[in-house]
């Protein structure tokens, strides 16, 4: 009777999902997460004068700060998103990616881009200063002078080509889907188009065509579009996919989810200049960015309301179902960060917190508190499915969750609280050193919060290793995405 429900033409999971590439992306992502967190720790110890590597040029915190931000965006988030997409897109549209070999080529090419970025940022300036042949090059081997776009200029074309291939590989199956699309597919389509355009805009326009405040304005757009048009649509697309599956009930209102999606599509792209309020960029542009930011924050409330209406009546899952807890913790942080964003883009608020650690706290809450938590939740859910075995230790999973989320909460609260202190120090026109001294207790607490988050990840890494060993001991097979369904198991039409 059960078999009658499956149609003969239904694809099977093994035909759709290339599981080894999902695992490979996740493990690479976690490796980059560790590297990024170590780089962040280096910067944090520098600020409290505890840097044990002081004086070593190649490990200077200025360079490793760029490693911290770039590796978390392009190393951890991008790889983890790609892994999750290789699971979710084929299952969502019931078609495999365009070409499995292209998927593996992209995986390798993207790691080349990341390694070149790492090499360029850490070694580029030193090599170019010491080797005469390299000094004469018409471009810098080191970081590009654009925030979040420090990827060296010589690797930008390859990175852009990689993003195009990613779009082609995933859009192929999505556009061949018949009938109304689920909201995740809309978000994924948007992300593939926007990420390509955003990367091109942010890395090429200020480098080759624009200068001065115009370049600054585009830089502002790039910083924020990177979060809002690359990370946000992929993150929401995945959460809209995984949460109903985990809760085993549909999203509360698909119509409301589409209101959120189209609102994001039309209001987001002008936001970025709010990063440069009170700068020489004309005020009418700054006002425009403020208005559109507040419009987006209002749209975001539809998404949050929708997810909390979905879990209504299933609240116990927040205790018993760890991936669900990861997702909803991320949503709480998302709500907080969007509320914070709507406030901090007003000129009144900016006058106090501009250039302070408030912004750093906000950035950590967005990148780790929201999107990293979601991705860690996805990994917590998928590793047992990918390796056909239960987690080695549920206790370590709990440690991972609590150390990550509480560590992030402490770090973000600490830095956000520090912001007004710094703002008032500067507004009172006291010497700069006074504000630095006043920041020390906050910065020390930040080091310990970061160590807690790092400890949480170490628990996760050990748990993954032991789970993998257990799966190897059991000798379970994995799907490579190429298997044909055995004819005997294909049920006849009901």
């Amino acid at each position: 009777m059960i078999d009658k429900l499956a149609k003969a033409e239904d694809p099977r999971h093994e035909q759709l999902v290339d599981e080894p590439i999902v695992v490979a992306y996740f493990l690479l992502a976690l490796g980059y997460l560790a590297l990024s967190m170590l780089a962040g720790l280096l910067m944090a110890t520098q600020l409290v004068h505890w840097n044990p590597l002081n004086g070593i040029e190649l490990l200077s915190p200025g360079r490793w700060r760029m490693i911290h931000t770039n590796v978390v965006a392009y190393g951890f988030l991008a790889n983890a998103f790609l892994g999750a997409l290789h699971w979710s897109v084929p299952r969502l549209v019931l078609k495999p990616v365009l070409d499995r070999r292209l998927s593996w080529f992209i995986l390798v090419a993207w790691q080349v881009v990341l390694l070149c970025t790492f090499f360029g940022i850490v070694f580029g300036p030193t090599l170019q200063a010491n080797i005469a042949a390299l000094e004469r090059l018409p471009f810098s081997l080191g970081a590009q002078g654009i925030e979040w776009g420090e990827t060296p200029t010589w690797i930008d074309p390859l990175a852009l080509a990689g993003l195009l291939l990613v779009a082609v590989n995933f859009m192929g199956p999505i556009v061949r889907t018949k009938g109304p699309m689920y909201v995740s597919a809309w978000y994924f389509i948007a992300a593939f188009v926007w990420t390509f355009l955003t990367y091109a805009m942010g890395n090429f326009l200020p480098q080759y065509w624009l200068a001065g405040t115009s370049a600054g304005a585009v830089g502002g757009l790039f910083i924020h579009d990177l979060v809002g048009l690359f990370v946000t649509p992929l993150g929401w697309g995945l959460v809209y996919y995984f949460v109903p599956i985990l809760l085993q009930k549909p999203i509360w209102s698909h119509g409301l989810s589409l209101v959120g999606f189209w609102g994001l599509a039309f209001f987001y792209p002008l936001n970025g200049i709010h990063h440069f309020l009170y700068t020489p960029i004309p005020m009418f542009l700054q006002y425009g960015a403020i208005i559109s930011t507040i419009a987006v924050e209002m749209v975001v409330t539809t998404v949050i309301v929708n997810f909390f209406a979905t879990i209504w009546g299933s609240g116990r899952q927040l205790i018993t179902n760890l991936p669900v807890r990861w997702f909803y913790t991320g949503m709480v942080f998302y709500g907080l960060t969007c509320l914070q964003c709507a406030m901090q883009t007003t000129l009144t608020f900016q006058a106090l917190i501009h250039f302070t650690d408030w912004v750093v706290g906000h950035a950590h809450m967005v990148m780790f508190g929201v999107f990293s938590l979601w991705l860690l939740g996805i990994m917590t859910y998928l590793f047992p499915r990918l390796w056909r075995t239960e987690w080695y230790s549920k206790e370590l999973l709990e440690y991972h969750y609590w150390l990550s989320s509480v560590g992030l909460l402490v770090m973000a609260a600490d830095l956000i609280l520090l912001g007004p202190f710094q703002g008032y120090y500067w507004a009172s026109l006291q010497p700069w050193e006074v504000s630095v001294d006043g920041s020390q207790p906050f910065w020390m607490l930040r080091v310990f919060a970061g160590l807690a988050m790092l400890a949480g990840q170490l628990c996760f890494f050990y748990n993954i290793y032991m789970t993998w060993r257990r799966s190897r001991a059991q000798g379970v097979p994995v799907s490579t995405g190429t298997q044909q369904a055995p004819p005997a198991e294909v049920a006849p039409q009901a």
Binding site: M1, I2, L5, D10, P11, R12, H13, E14, R91, L92, L94, G179, P180, Y182, A190, L197, L210, P244, I245, L246, Q248, K249, P250, S253, H254, G255, L256, L258, V259, W262, A265, F266, F267, P269, L270, I273, I281, P282, F284, L285, G288, I291, S292, A295, V296, M298, V299, T301, T302, V305, N321, L322, P323, V324, T380, Y381, P384, R388, T389, W391
Partner: protein, 133 residues
């Protein structure tokens, strides 16, 4: 799975109210500012600054405006709640055909639900009994 839901018309009203309360003022504020940008570009000496954000916005959004028009014309929103059931139905089919040890440990696998509800069509198992669309 819980199938006890509020009647669908309540949900429709909530969605419509949220859409109106959020989209109308947002659209008004955003649209007014965008028109100001265009006016500045035409009439102000510093108006050249407005070109890059306008172009950036049009580049990112015009395509989506066409996509939205295409989606409306091709009936993507006729049965607007249907895709959320289709997605879960597809997941159930895929999990049902997967080996038992590949369904994870967090209850996310929908395939096992088939065993108790095998005689029902897929949509009956996920659809809100009060929902009419």
């Amino acid at each position: 799975m819980s199938t006890q839901r509020k009647p669908f018309h309540t949900r429709s009203v909530v969605v419509a109210l949220m859409a109106l309360a959020i989209l109308v003022p947002s659209l008004y504020g955003f649209g007014t500012k965008f028109l100001e940008f265009i006016a500045l570009y035409r009439g102000d000496a510093d108006g050249a600054f407005a070109i890059s954000p306008i172009l950036n916005y049009l580049l990112a959004s015009l395509g989506f405006l066409f996509l939205f028009g295409w989606a409306v014309m091709s009936g993507m929103f006729h049965d607007i709640e249907r895709p959320k059931y289709t997605m879960l139905e597809n997941e159930a089919r895929l999990d049902h055909s997967a080996p038992p040890n590949s369904r994870g440990q967090f209850g996310g696998s929908l395939g096992r639900r088939l065993s108790g509800e095998a005689d029902l069509p897929y949509s009956s198992r996920f659809r809100d009994p009060h929902e009419h669309d």
